[in-house]
Symmetry: C2
Subunit: 318 residues, 2 copies
């Protein structure tokens, strides 16, 4: 039995969206999983009733506090010790759940993934990847997409390693190619941090470095299995795509190719480098995205992704 | 007569694309403009002949050197004194042309706009805006989109001022609203530079600051007349939009709403804060984009945009 803890108070329109998403997941899930909603019991019960759901059907772990989307990540994580996020990480750390998934304050989730449970040996900053589906059916892993808005070259270098392992284990790519997201193909382009990372990756054996890649080339077909960027730029890329998708959908367009850009479908993504399975959804999570986030959480445990990364990372470069 | 200098050696597939774009412009332009192609006379002549055009129909200013897209901006600008870019800025500075337009090495064009001609008084870093057309017919000015990949709060602050003036003069918006591009609406989000800029803009009289804006909200309708970001992130946003547009076009989609994202149509953008009219196109410029870049160059002189900015900036905050 895979025990999944879900932050009922994380994301937009809470706890309603999380409850509807969990109900949708449970209606379609394989019976080897058990979901615990972590959050304000009263609000969860009320939202269930308002949506015609029986609260008795859910396992609920009461958390009296909620970390809001706008709160300071470290401060709120330290102060709100009975919040759904802190409680989720405590349950994970205590072995009461096998994976913790939440679509709340990304900063606070990041603090939990770094301080609530320990990062894997050798990893300074865990990060969040996303798998981008290209038009021609190929895939690209982009990371970080939101955990660390400011990255020095050593972190970007670690993302290249983590992304390579993810592509290998998850997308079954042998010797995955790595590119650096930049505003030009030339080595000279971009910030000083990017120029230094470029050199670092060029000189590293074991990383199949292909140089810089521009966002323009990312979506048609996979030019690199792994695209490395800092969490600010990665998050901007994600949200631009969402913005264009929303706009074209609002204009009445409907098309299989356009649906490739519906990143909401993907729902959640594991934190790479964290010491235990953590899946982060994004703030504007619809019930559909929450349902997919919970599926991803179950898959992450099933695949044994974290252990695979851990073993590979320890041997990386040897 | 508006005298327009065009870098014949700037952009992709040169000089062919520039020549085809110039020919297209000349075929449709108002007779109050005169275009001079600046670049390698032999190559220009050859490309004309290969495309069935009479080289005698073009004014050509020979430049024996070319600054490539991958070259170091400052170094190449300093060394290649007979390059098309350096020559263009010299002609502009000497008053032989009224505006210089080029789609080549953005870094070298930036060096020219800063050192080849002087920035306007009080402006440390000239920048490039783009006008984003939203689905509902409204517009947003985003800046910088490529000149300065790394920006401190004082530069971002200046972009807010420059963007406000641009929106006022160009889009005829009274009291334009300004937002900061970020990965969340909350004041706490993003890099330290963004958090400091947020405070700076909040406390400044004369700037109609609306807080942070996420890229997701940018395209449906204009939530702010001006969106401020650094040149790296702005350029990434531009190229993500282009990438999605290219992909959907490749998938056979055709639609009026989708065409809004065809930023190639816009072709070029004036450098805000430069002391004389300079229009920069982007590297992947098709003949259509080059033609539109030349149109924008002519318009910039016709509108007297630079003088208007100069006067407004000197009085700004008074």
């Amino acid at each position: 039995m895979i025990r999944i803890g879900v932050d009922a108070m994380g994301g937009d329109n809470i706890p309603e969206n999380v409850i509807l998403g969990t109900a949708a997941y449970c209606a379609s899930c394989i019976s080897d999983t058990e979901v615990t909603l972590i959050g304000d019991k009263e609000k969860i019960t009320e939202a269930c009733q308002q949506n015609g759901l029986n609260p008795g059907n859910f396992c609920i772990e009461h958390a009296s506090e909620t970390i809001g989307m706008g709160e300071h990540p470290v401060e709120s994580y330290m102060k709100k010790t009975d919040s759904s996020i802190v409680k989720g990480f405590r349950m994970l750390s205590d072995g009461r759940i096998d994976v913790f998934a939440g679509a709340g304050n990304t900063g606070a989730m990041s603090v939990g993934a770094v301080y609530g449970i320990r990062p894997l040996t050798g990893i300074s900053k865990p990060c969040i990847p996303i798998v981008i589906p290209c038009l021609d059916g190929t895939f690209t892993v982009m990371l970080d997409v939101g955990m660390n808005p400011e990255c020095k070259p050593d972190s970007l270098y670690q993302y290249a390693v983590l992304g390579s392992i993810y592509a290998k284990e998850y997308l079954k790519v042998q010797n995955p190619s790595v590119a650096l997201l930049n505003i030009g193909a030339e080595e000279e382009k971009g910030s000083m941090a990017l120029r230094e990372t470029y050199k670092l990756l060029s000189y590293t054996k074991g990383i199949n470095f292909k140089g810089n890649i521009e966002p323009r080339e990312m979506f048609l077909s996979s030019k690199a299995d792994v695209i490395v960027t800092d969490g600010f730029v990665g998050n901007i890329v994600l949200k631009v795509v969402e913005g264009v998708y929303d706009t074209l959908t609002a204009a009445g367009m409907k098309n299989e190719a356009l649906e490739k850009f519906n990143y909401e479908m993907y729902g959640g993504t594991p934190v790479l480098g964290a010491g235990a399975p953590v899946v982060i959804g994004h703030g504007a999570s619809s019930p559909l995205a929450i349902s997919n986030m919970i599926k991803k959480a179950a898959d992450t445990v099933r695949i044994g992704l974290i252990d695979k990364i851990k073993r590979s990372f320890e041997n990386y470069g040897n």
